[in-house]
Symmetry: C2
Subunit: 465 residues, 2 copies
C-alpha cells in the first residue's frame, strides 16, 4: 500500500508500508554476544560435566508491576524472532571468546554451528500481563537456553516498558492519535525499538525514520525551531515550508510569539493550513486560544498538535482542550517512570541424571520461584477479565488439564524445534499486536485505565497440579 502524498509523513494509520521482514534484511549483525559473560562460562562448565544437554524449561516473568500500575503490555516478541534468526557466532566472536579464555576450545567447537533448536511459547505481542504471568517459556537443552537469557530479557524488558507506558498514554489521550517523538532522549537503537513498541502499545506513528524503514511504520514530523531561526524571519520560514511541504503541513508556532505566528501562518498558507504545533507553555490554555484564533481566521479545519514533555497525566489533563494529536517523547521512551519491567528468566524444570523431567525452583529470600512449566489462561465474568490463571505441573498433567469454558489460552507458539512461526515477525505482526492490545485492554475491567496508583486490575492465581 502506498502512503498518501502531500502532507508528508502523515498517512492515515493502517497505511503502513508492507515490508515485512525488512528488519531482518537490514540488521546484518549477530546478537550472540549481546549476552552476559556468565551465560558462556555456565555453558562451558555444563558441556564439561554433561548437564548442558539436559532438557530444560526456562520462564520469563515479573514478580511485580511497577509503580502501582494495573497491567503491563507484553512487547518485543517479534524482535526476539528476528534476533534468533541472526543468533550465531562468527569467526570474530569465536576468536574473542577464545582469546579471552571465556570458554574452552571444546566449547568453541560446540559454538561454531550454534543454532537454537528448541521451542518458545508465550504471551501474544500486545497481550496484557500481570505479576507471575509466564510471558515467555523457552524449552531446549540447558546449553542453548542459557545463551538466550540476556538477549530475551533485554528485548522484552525494554519493549514492554515502552508499550506499557504507551498504552496508558493512549488511554489518557482517548481518541486522539499519539505519535512517538522520543528518539533523542534514549539510546539510538533503543529509539528504534521504542518506536515499534509504541505502536504495539497503541501509538499511530513515529518520528524515527529507521524504525519507519525497518518496520514499515508511519513516519511523522515537519520542522523544528531551528528551521524558523535559520531564516531571516518567521514569515520566510513558513513560506519556505509551505513551498516544500505543501499547505497541508504543520507549522511550529512558538518560536517567538504564538499569536503572531498563528496570524502569519494563516496569512501564508490560507485557511487550508494543515496544522500548527505548540511545544511550550500551558498547553491547554494555549490550545484553546490558538483554536479560537484559527477559527476566527477561518482556518477551522487546521489541526492543533501539542508536544512538550507529555506523559499520561498531562494527556489526561488535556482531554477538554481543543487538541487534535499529541507528540510524546521523553516519557514514552523511558517508560514513564518505569524504564524496565524487571522481568527475569528462571529455570523451572529440567531433566535429572535419570533422564526424567523434574520441576526446580530457587529459594532465595524474596526471590523464590514457582517450579514447573506453566499453562496460562484468563477467565471472564460478564465479558470482563476477572482472573489470570497460571497452572504449573508436569508435561503429562498439563497435557491432560482442562481449562474451564470461556477461559482464554494465553500462550502461542513462537518457535517450534528451532523454526520460527514467522507470522509473528515483521510489519503485519506489529499491526496485529497493535490491534490485539486494544482488544485485550477493552476486556479488562475499566479500572485498568485509571491513572491512580493501585493493584493489578485482576489477580494472578497460581495452581500447582
Amino acid at each position: 500500500m502506498q502512503p498518501k502524498i502531500g502532507h508528508r509523513g502523515s498517512y492515515t494509520y493502517g497505511q503502513f508500508h508492507q515490508k515485512s521482514r525488512k528488519a531482518l534484511e537490514m540488521l546484518d549483525y549477530s546478537p550472540a554476544l549481546m549476552t552476559d559473560m556468565y551465560e558462556y562460562t555456565m555453558l562451558d562448565a555444563c558441556l564439561k560435566d554433561g548437564t548442558a544437554n539436559r532438557k530444560c524449561v526456562f520462564e520469563i516473568f515479573t514478580r511485580h508491576l511497577p509503580l502501582g500500575r494495573h497491567y503491563g503490555v507484553a512487547a518485543g516478541q517479534g524482535r526476539i524472532l528476528d534476533a534468533l534468526e541472526k543468533f550465531h557466532l562468527d569467526d570474530n566472536d569465536l576468536k574473542f571468546l577464545a582469546d579471552r579464555k571465556v570458554v574452552s576450545p571444546e566449547t568453541i567447537k560446540w559454538l561454531e554451528n550454534f543454532h537454537f533448536s528448541g521451542s518458545i511459547k508465550g504471551y501474544h505481542e500486545g497481550e496484557m500481563f500481570f505479576p507471575n504471568s509466564p510471558i515467555l517459556q523457552v524449552e531446549g537443552t540447558f546449553g542453548e537456553c542459557t545463551l538466550l537469557e540476556t538477549l530475551l530479557l533485554s528485548i522484552l524488558n525494554y519493549d514492554s516498558a515502552v508499550a506499557s507506558a504507551a498504552s496508558r498514554m493512549v488511554s489518557a489521550a482517548k481518541d486522539r492519535p499519539c505519535m512517538d517523538m522520543g528518539g533523542r532522549r534514549t539510546n539510538e537503537w533503543a529509539a528504534v525499538a521504542a518506536a515499534r513498541a509504541a505502536v504495539v502499545g497503541g501509538f499511530k506513528g513515529t518520528a524515527n525514520l529507521l524504525a519507519a524503514q525497518m518496520y514499515g511504520l508511519k513516519a511523522i514530523g515537519t520542522a523544528a525551531h531551528c528551521f524558523t531561526l535559520v531564516h531571516d524571519d518567521e514569515r520566510s520560514a513558513f513560506e519556505s515550508q509551505i513551498a516544500a511541504l505543501g499547505k497541508n503541513t504543520t507549522l511550529l508556532v512558538d518560536t517567538y510569539n504564538i499569536e503572531e505566528a498563528v496570524k502569519t501562518a494563516v496569512d501564508v498558507a490560507g485557511p487550508e493550513l494543515g496544522g500548527v504545533r505548540i511545544d511550550s507553555g500551558d498547553l491547554a490554555s494555549l490550545a484553546q486560544r490558538v483554536r479560537n484564533q484559527l477559527d476566527a481566521l477561518g482556518a477551522t479545519n487546521t489541526k492543533i498538535t501539542v508536544t512538550n514533555d507529555l506523559d499520561e497525566y498531562a494527556l489526561a489533563s488535556l482531554q477538554t482542550a481543543p487538541v487534535d494529536s499529541y507528540g510524546v517523547g521523553t516519557m514514552l521512551v523511558t517508560g514513564s517512570g518505569a524504564p524496565t519491567c524487571a522481568m527475569v528468566y528462571k529455570l523451572t524444570e529440567r531433566e535429572n541424571s535419570a533422564g526424567e523431567m523434574q520441576p526446580v525452583a530457587k529459594k532465595s529470600k524474596d526471590k523464590a520461584t514457582v517450579p514447573g512449566r506453566k499453562l496460562a489462561f484468563r477467565s471472564y465474568e460478564y465479558s470482563l477479565a476477572d482472573c489470570e490463571h497460571v497452572i504449573s505441573g508436569s508435561e503429562d498433567k498439563l497435557a491432560a488439564y482442562q481449562p474451564e469454558d470461556g477461559w482464554k489460552d494465553l500462550l502461542v507458539d513462537y518457535v517450534t524445534n528451532g523454526e520460527n512461526h514467522s507470522e509473528y515477525q515483521g510489519h503485519d505482526a506489529i499491526v496485529n499486536a497493535h490491534n490485539y492490545r486494544a482488544q485485550a485492554l477493552a476486556e479488562l475491567p475499566i479500572g485498568a485505565q485509571s491513572l491512580m496508583k493501585g493493584d493489578p486490575v485482576i489477580p494472578t492465581e497460581v495452581t500447582v497440579l
Copy 2:
C-alpha cells in the same frame, strides 16, 4: 596487553584489551536514519530556499540536572565520532526517502555523497557538566548540522545518564569496584552503550560481552542460579564450576540456604576459593555472617560480591559491611531514576542573507535559549571548582577573550572540518575518560558527592560579550 588467565573475566582494571577502533570495524551500519523525519524535511525546504548552505552553530546543553543532582558526567563523545564515520546514506536509505517522499529528488541527489564536513568541539568525555554547560557545539552548514541532531542527542543523553548514575554509585562504593550487570534490564544495544558509559563513570568492568569485545572492556561473571538448579545438587554444581573455571572463581551461594552453600563451597574449593556472591536478602547482615563464616573456615582471602537491585543509596548503606565488590544492574542502565539528561540541540548563531554571522535564540516560554557561540571555563578557589563560566559572543570577540588565570578551558576539538580527532575514539579514549572523570570529580567541592538532593554544586555564570 593480555588478560590474566585463571579467574576468568577478572583481570585487574587497566588490563583492557588494546583494540581501539574495534567498535568501528564491528558496526557495519549507517546511523543516518537514526533521525527524526523533520531533520530531512527541514533540509529539503532549506535546500530549496538556499538557507541550507548558511553557516550555523548548534549547541547541546541541558536546562537542568535531574532530581536534585549536584553534577552530571558527559559521556558518549567517542561514540559520536564512531557514528560520524558511518553517517552516510546507502541506496536503500535513499530509496526509502524517495519512496516515502520525505524529500524531493534534488535533495536525494544532495544526500548521495553526504559527509559531515563541519567542526565539533565540546566537553571532554568524563567531564562534569552543569545546567547551561555547552557540552557540544557543532559548526557547519544548516543542512549538515540539522541531520545530526537526533543522533547526537540520543548518544549524549543516554550515555551521560548512565555515566552520571555510575559516578554517584562509584562515589558511594568508595574504593570497592563496581561492575555493570544491567544489560538485561535495558534495550540490547543500549546495554552495550551502558557498559561503556559505566566505565567512563568509574565502573571497572561489565558482564556484557559485546561491549567487552567492541571497546576492549574487562568482562566479568561466572554463574547464575540456573547453573545450580540444573545440577542434581549444589555440591555437584560447585564442583563443576571449580573444574571448569578454577578455584579462584566466584560461587553463587544463595540458591537454597546460604550458610550451607558457603560450607559446601569451601569444602569443595578449599580456602583458596576466589569469591562468593550473594544476590538476595539483607545484604549487609548476610555479608557480615558470610565473612565470619568464611574466616572461621579459613577462607580469609575469599572475596564477597553482592548484587540485588543496588543503587547509590544501597551502596552507601553497605559501606560498613565486609563486601569486596558490587554488581549493579537495573539502576545503572536506567540512570538511577534519571534515564535521560534532557539535553537539547539548539541553533545559536547563523549566517544571515548578507553573509554575516548573527546570534539567534528562540523565545518559547520556559524554553528560551542563550544566543551565540560559547566558550566555557571552570574557575577554582583553593584548588576546588567554584564556578562554571559560559561566555557567549561573536567569533571575533570570543577569539579576543582572555579567561582569568587558572581557569580551565572546557572545550576540546572533536572534529575539525570533517576530520575526527581520533584520540577521542576507541579503547584508549575510554580509559582516558575514566581517569578524567575521577580527576574532574575530585576537583569539585565534596558536596558534589552527597546523596542528599540539592542544587548543582557550582553555579553556571553566563556572560554575553
